[in-house]
Amino acid sequence: MEVKIVKEDDRQVVYITGRVDTVTAPELEKAVAPLLGEIGIKIVFDCTGLEYVSSSGLRVVLGSHKIVVAKGGKFALRGLSREVKSVFDLTGFSKILTIE
């Protein structure tokens, strides 16, 4: 898994490539942690290169969403493949998260 964070206009875009599983999810959590503390941050996880996600990855996504929203920010996801989207659908995450 690789994580690249790029400021695009007024948003921080987190490009996630590869597999987010039990092994790699802590790396994703660590990479985004410094951003999440900012008041009113606008953040989007770009999942165009995300090949696989397990419940460990979902935990990081939901945890990030909760922190950002609690601090008055906006959290979104984009570029989900059909397979990755199906995991978000199965778990009901598609309904509670903003998917662009």
Binding site: V23, S55, S56, L62, R82, L90, I96
Partner: protein, 135 residues
């Protein structure tokens, strides 16, 4: 078809599951979304064992067997860790809002959603989890 994989109770072992299920997918000509879902199920089941079955530590083996039986793909996962029956775990409530949703508790839920049957037995000090997916 029958394939076996022996894993150790270390998180890094999870990475071996992708190759294991890819091989099965090729052999059985499974669709990519099926391979994806089965990888997910195996990761959730195996990570539960790795994370919780051996609280006292020490290197232990986890055995995974995959076989085709009566037009279903069967996974048998066994370990000698503390007794844990995932079929008794209550379903995650997926109707809660983002703020109310607890972080976690989705692994077993995903296994149940994806597989056609999930069976657990405790046999001679072993946890045996039998997961079946219709082909």
């Amino acid at each position: 078809m029958e394939k076996k994989l022996i894993l150790l109770n270390e998180i890094s072992e999870i990475s071996k599951l992708a190759g294991f299920i890819e091989e099965i997918g090729e052999e059985l000509s499974l669709q990519p979304d099926m391979v994806f879902n089965l990888n997910l199920v195996l990761e959730e089941a195996v990570s539960n064992v790795i994370l919780y079955a051996y609280p006292d530590g020490g290197t232990q083996e986890i055995h995974l067997t995959a076989k085709v039986c009566n037009s279903a793909l069967l996974f048998v996962l066994s370990d000698r860790g503390v007794e844990f029956d995932p079929t008794q775990v209550p379903d995650a409530d997926i109707t809660l809002s983002g703020e109310e949703r607890p972080i976690g508790g989705l692994g077993v839920y995903l296994i149940r959603q994806i597989m056609n049957s999930v069976e657990y037995k405790r046999i001679d000090g072993e946890n045996v989890l039998i997961l079946s997916k219709d082909l």
